[in-house]
Point group: C2
Chain length 346, copies 2
Amino acid sequence: MTKTSEKITVLLNWKATPYHLPLFLASKLGFFTKQDISVAILEPNDPSDVTEIIGSGKIDLGLKAMIHTIAGKARGYPIKSIGTLLDEPFTGVIHPSHKSGITSDFKSLRGKKIGYVGEFGKIQLDQLARQYGMQEGEYEAVRVGMNVTDAIKRGEIDAGIGIENVQQVELEEWSVQQGRSRDDIQMLRIDELAELGCCCFCSILYIGNEDFINNNPEKVEKFMRAIKQATDYMIANPAAAYQKYVEIKPHLDTDIQRKIFQRSFRYFSRDLQNVERDWNKVTNYCKELGIVDAGFAQNQTNDFLTWKLNEQGPGGVEPATVETGVVKGGCKSCQHASISQPEVFA
Amino acid sequence: MTKTSEKITVLLNWKATPYHLPLFLASKLGFFTKQDISVAILEPNDPSDVTEIIGSGKIDLGLKAMIHTIAGKARGYPIKSIGTLLDEPFTGVIHPSHKSGITSDFKSLRGKKIGYVGEFGKIQLDQLARQYGMQEGEYEAVRVGMNVTDAIKRGEIDAGIGIENVQQVELEEWSVQQGRSRDDIQMLRIDELAELGCCCFCSILYIGNEDFINNNPEKVEKFMRAIKQATDYMIANPAAAYQKYVEIKPHLDTDIQRKIFQRSFRYFSRDLQNVERDWNKVTNYCKELGIVDAGFAQNQTNDFLTWKLNEQGPGGVEPATVETGVVKGGCKSCQHASISQPEVFA
């Protein structure tokens, strides 16, 4: 009796944020319609719901970080990555150093309240604690969902796990408003602490329910083609693209949100591919964390990317464009280490 | 192979707005958990997606206005209302009168650009135009989705369909910012133009996919019980409840959003029932609009409301509480006509 719907449901990994621009732009500019598909973009209220909802087939496609994409699959939710949105945004324990008492030494987290989004942040923290010889209970982990920034502002936590291009920007601007310097906001990078060599565990991926992907390969291909078209438009016209985005999302029409877009710009994957080197690293990391077993088969494919992909050398994908002005503190091995921060709103 | 999920997915009718407070509060205060259910609240980006997504069974439960709930069912999407969130918020064509040139005469819309959310706003406008002797093409209808307020601010439309407790508040505050009075923002009420006697077509309902409801009656009952508990809490402690809400949704922590909550307060259904009188009116209205045929069976039930409901007299439900200060311009026949605007943040 239930009438079926041809609409493709897509669940974001987070409330609508500047780095989601390609999805909304594809909708706004009619790129989905041109591909003859209908797409409904939905936003979660708890990021921890996403892999379960997509994995159980309630939602068709979505976005999720690499570590969660792997963990969801390992837990029996058949999800698979079909592309990359953000390559390796720096991720770590962010804090206002003037009052947190946290230094570059992981052990300085002793006695502190550390906010995390969902359960895997805690698994990562607990693993680091063991690595650095801390006992269970020597720091307090507080689950805060999407409210990392506000919980720090309110003083409910001393520090929280976030990414360089979102929470760090929000806290830096807050720091300035409080009469302190941006530099007061510091990040203990998880990739450095865990000696991973890159933040690929936090790469944000396009994912889908495996049954949906298997039963609708043409739709998935069309979806990714529209996303690529929107990504190309955004890379070529970032300021114009952002202006179109804020017409859909007026609450992103602020200086802080523009700064978040600016900081996100270098992380956008230009060719949207799943990077084999990163998948290998993160699969191994997940084994160390006890999230997957030794025989885990990577749940990712580039089969739906119908354009020329950048070559993956021994060090991984080379940056698509190398511009002037090397990013301070960039990863040694990551593709965006030598991509500058072009002035998006120049 | 796909693992199932016990999580109940709930899709809002609109981006998170102050009047969604009971849902978020039920989550925040653990009322869903106490009922032993797990609920994922999702937000749409196009309100027009909601009935199709729920009707096709992709999402379990949600919220939608009465007219859309009826229209969705008539189009073959098996959805049903299981309760009421907002009773009859005033709905109409909102405009800044100093420049719109629109008066209380519907014919003053001639030559104007009128924004509407989804297709039924246009159906209503077209019907009114016929009623008032206007020809097709004598006004321009512009589909603007959730951006009614901003499209008016930007001057892209002369007026737009909205509700008294959201878009009218936003525009009144904007009017004041522009150095004009709140009274510059006027509404041509659709219920008055269409001689309906109340704005019940826009009552916001809790709805669900019929298969989901039939297969999970216990879950639906528990869901509504948690919602009732949250509603009771909110009615008794509105300011405290709002404070908890903004901890989840920091972007609602503004004066304008508090004013929207204040204005929404009298519309919240206290007992959550579907009101027979209103369903009869709106079913008839939908027949006039050509949305449903003569034999349409109302897709609503109060079976999942396991508490004492207010009695429905010949004039419908009486107000749960009558306080001092009658609302100016209140509907003659509506239950909230004699409910005051209590000072929520007093």
